[in-house]
């Protein structure tokens, strides 16, 4: 009888926590990458689901987002598959020209995403990406570079112009010293990638707290959107660069994605 209850409990817990961890081992990046995937509770192989990738910040890992908000609840509420890859501490989600063994962009686009699409019922028309801080940079970077893959993107407290922070967070470890590699830095900086947006009506969203050290680059980024007549949504509000701010604001991105999700 006791065993029977135990089995039921195990069964329930599997159902409640409809989440997987997939570990990728690849030559593109220096370490195996863990990706945590949350499926809506009612996940059915007969249906297709929008996929939302959430990127963590500098010094974080694939668990960071789930520590900030309970991703399973949001997967259920919005009927999204949510995947949270590991950004390997400080990869900046770019392909490093100075380190051939650190090609994060290649990994995410050509290895992780195809694998997720194969394993899960992902609606390829509805793939979204958002992130915080370094991950905000990463989300918009990958969106601008792969406009055919991502429908829309978001950034919270994003480092939307890495060239404003030449000595911080080991960006130089991936792109080389700023003084000697300014063109490379620009090619990897969101604000300089804005011009590459093909459809200026393509919606995307970003927010930053006014007391955040990243506020000025977000403000500059938005001014450039206005100049280029790019139709972005910018939420400017009180807040600093911390988990409380991200916790209170990531849902506005999920709602934003839900609104522009193709009707199936």
């Amino acid at each position: 009888m006791k065993n029977y209850i135990l089995i039921i409990i195990i069964f329930l817990s599997i159902n409640i926590f409809a989440q997987d961890i997939k570990v990728f081992e690849t030559h593109s990046i220096p370490k195996p990458d863990s990706v945590q995937i949350f499926k809506p509770s009612g996940y059915s192989s007969a249906e297709k689901y929008s996929l939302v990738i959430l990127l963590h910040g500098w010094s974080g890992n694939y668990k960071q987002w789930n520590e900030i908000i309970p991703l399973q609840n949001f997967s259920d509420k919005y009927n999204f598959i949510i995947a949270s890859p590991d950004g390997l501490y400080d990869s900046w989600y770019v392909n490093s020209p100075v380190n051939p063994g650190s090609q994060m962009e290649t990994f995410i686009i050509t290895e992780m995403l195809p694998a997720l699409c194969e394993k899960y019922n992902v609606d390829k028309e509805n793939i979204f990406i958002s992130g915080l801080s370094m991950g905000g940079h990463g989300a918009l970077y990958l969106f601008f570079k792969h406009q055919d893959i991502f429908k829309s993107a978001g950034s919270l407290s994003g480092i939307l112009d890495i060239t404003a922070f030449p000595d911080n967070w080991n960006i130089a470890g991936y792109l080389g010293k700023y003084e000697d590699n300014q063109e490379i830095w620009k090619k990897n900086s969101d604000i300089f990638l804005l011009d590459s947006l093909i459809d200026k009506e393509r919606p995307f969203i970003f927010g930053c707290g006014t007391e955040d050290f990243a506020y000025q680059v977000n403000k500059n980024f938005y001014e450039k959107c206005l100049q280029l007549k790019i139709k972005a949504t910018f939420i400017s509000q009180p807040g600093v660069h911390n988990a409380e701010y991200w916790k209170n604001n990531i849902e506005s991105h999920l709602r934003f994605f839900k609104e522009i999700e193709c009707k199936k």
Binding site: P203, Y222, A232, I235, S236
Partner: protein, 265 residues
């Protein structure tokens, strides 16, 4: 029997659909009686108190407009557990005490008549009274809030005319503010841009948004820059959109969410 039952069911259902109440109030200092729609949350109980959210319509609209924006305000009263109130703004009153028309003291009417009536008739949590509005109503909500920060906990504006003095002698405004060249101060002192100082250092929070293709966009942008200068805690949502109902439909719920996040526990 079946027929009667069906009819009763329909009556019951339709009664649920149209569960708002209508109040008509008058005062000697307004031009005509004011109609106010009140939506109580489905679970409204006289044993509890509820936040109150006032929704102000725009120029040449009526108390019915907000229900058109939201589709059905009752749904939002239920969802947020708010008492939602749509007063009439007398067409082009700009929600002020008109310096040129003694029969258009709308600010006084709101503060001395409408709000006390609501708080005595319903179980309003007086610590949680909010106000928002669109276009002229965005000016109105900020105006009433900035003049009475003791009454309102917070305020919002959608596509608001956040500096009336930027539009001197606009026909839609002359009835309320008078001719600009006769007395420009009537415009300046009633501009919410100039009233922002009233909440400086008061730890008040506000929210506003505007579409970037809206002719009024520059007002909201300027208003926000002043908020930053004065260190007023403002949330500004700057997004694609024009001065149309579809825009308000898309964004109004952000205000309800914002107010909900401020409701004192």
């Amino acid at each position: 029997m079946k027929k009667i039952f069906t009819i009763l069911c329909l009556l019951f259902l339709s009664g649920k659909d149209f569960s708002y109440e209508q109040i008509i109030l008058n005062a000697p200092y307004v031009l005509k009686p004011d109609t106010i729609l009140v939506y109580l949350p489905a679970k409204y109980s006289t044993a509890k108190q509820y936040p109150l959210v006032m929704l102000l319509h725009g120029w040449h609209q009526t108390y019915k407009f907000w229900n058109q924006v939201a589709g059905d305000l009752q749904k939002y009263a239920d969802r947020y557990n708010f008492i939602l109130v749509c007063p009439d703004g007398f067409w082009d009153s700009w929600y002020i005490d008109s310096p040129v028309n003694p029969r258009s003291k709308v600010e006084t009417f709101f503060i001395k008549n409408i709000i006390p009536t609501l708080t005595s008739k319903y179980k309003v949590d007086k610590k949680n009274i909010f106000i928002t509005g669109l276009s002229m109503g965005g000016h109105g909500s900020m105006y009433l809030f900035l003049k009475h920060p003791d009454i309102f906990k917070s305020a919002g504006s959608l596509s608001g005319t956040l500096d009336v003095s930027a539009f001197p002698n606009k026909n839609s405004m002359i009835n309320a503010f008078g001719k600009y060249e006769v007395n420009p101060d009537n415009w300046k002192k009633n501009s919410v841009y100039n009233l922002l100082d009233n909440i400086k250092g008061k730890n008040k929070q506000i929210i506003f948004d505007c579409g970037t293709e809206d002719n009024l966009y520059f007002c909201s942008k300027k208003f926000y820059e002043k908020c930053l200068d004065l260190k007023i805690k403002a949330t500004f949502i700057s997004q694609p959109g024009v001065h149309k109902i579809d825009y308000w439909r898309k964004t109004f719920e952000n205000h309800f969410r914002f107010f909900q996040s401020l409701v004192s526990k």
